[in-house]
């Protein structure tokens, strides 16, 4: 089983990395790039588990909230890939 977690800076949080990437895109010939946000993606491969699916998803959500992202500055998206 594979899970993908995408963590992005909240819209209201300054993202200087995104701004730097945007500026470089301008230099590299993409003047239309007006905003870039830089986040991170984590892929988790899981052993088959005896836990039922809702319990597993609840656990994953809890870990996304308490560990993989910081809710003060980031939002996360949890996706079961296969």
């Amino acid at each position: 089983m594979k899970v993908r977690v995408t963590v992005m800076p909240k819209a209201a949080v300054l993202d200087p990395q995104g701004v730097a990437i945007r500026n470089t895109l301008h230099h590299l010939g993409l003047p239309g790039a007006h905003a870039v946000r830089a986040g991170k993606v984590m892929e988790i491969e899981l052993d088959p588990t005896s836990e039922d699916r809702p319990a597993l998803e609840a656990k994953l959500r809890e870990l996304c909230r308490d560990f993989l992202s910081n809710p003060v500055i980031e939002d996360f998206q949890l996706e079961i890939v296969d």
Binding site: P9, A12, V13, L14, P16, Q17, A20, F67, L68, N70, V72, I73
Partner: protein
């Protein structure tokens, strides 16, 4: 290791502490901490207190009067600064100590860890400039009502060094309002000449030039500048001593009441 035999300058200047048991500081060590030795040296040699390393796998902090979460790059700053360290066994003991009123100071990476642990509100994000900043900064003491700034006077300017890549303090507008209303902002980056908080004097883009905050109970303090690197004239400033001295004074006061 025992504290130095000869009285330090601070002991001489603080007769109130003479004859009492030395306050005992725990300096937490995570894999990747790199200011743990600075802290222990500053506390023992320059301030004359007792200070011991405590490995992050320890689960008890019994016998310590105050806690220091030092700077560095705990767990290589992987995932987020402080995100891994805050789940270390010792952090449960730090949280319990904090809840019982023990002074806890988090310096630089330690500040990031205390925010991640929820002991302080807000978060530290990448410097606005994206540059690592390493320089002495001027700080204005915004409140002396804390276990950390009680030896300063309101509006006093301190010189302490900063050294960080992710020291931009962020909090949502409601949190920020609460911090300001409760006078939880203890230190702000200011211009060394005018003492005013200006954009030019802000090394990392922190909201409202915030350099250090305390919790609502005022016994947990997080700051990006390094008092541990400003405890001897040779280091360019001794202003850091005032912060540790305030913690020691509080500890001595608590001990005297027992």
């Amino acid at each position: 290791m025992s504290p130095p035999d000869s009285p330090t300058q601070l002991e001489l200047s603080l007769p109130k502490l003479a004859g009492r048991r030395l306050p005992r500081f725990a300096v937490i060590q995570f894999p990747g901490s790199n200011c743990d030795q600075d802290c222990v040296r500053a506390l023992r040699d320059d301030c004359g207190y007792a200070a011991e390393y405590v490995w992050h796998q320890e689960s008890s902090l019994a016998g310590f009067d105050a806690m220091v979460v030092p700077g560095g790059f705990s767990y290589g700053d992987y995932l987020r600064c402080g995100a891994m360290a805050r789940h270390s066994p010792v952090m449960r003991a730090v949280s319990e100590a904090a809840a019982s009123g023990v002074p806890v100071i988090g310096i630089c990476n330690g500040f990031q860890i205390l925010c991640e642990a929820g002991l302080l509100p807000g978060a530290l994000i990448r410097n606005r400039s994206l540059h690592f900043v390493c320089a002495p900064v001027t700080l204005r003491v915004e409140s002396v009502e804390s276990l950390f700034t009680s030896q300063c006077y309101a509006g006093q300017l301190l010189t302490l060094p900063v050294a960080h890549g992710e020291g931009c303090f962020h909090a949502d507008p409601d949190t920020l309002r609460t911090l300001e209303e409760n006078h939880q902002v203890l230190l702000r980056y200011v211009d060394p000449l005018t003492g005013e908080s200006t954009e030019a004097s802000n090394p990392n883009g922190s909201v409202s030039n915030i350099a250090g905050i305390c919790n609502a109970e005022r016994n947990v303090f997080g700051l990006m500048p390094h008092p541990d690197r400003a405890t001897h004239a040779r280091l360019g400033s001794e202003d850091g001593k005032m912060i540790f001295a305030a913690m020691a004074e509080h500890v001595a006061g608590v001990a005297a009441k027992r």
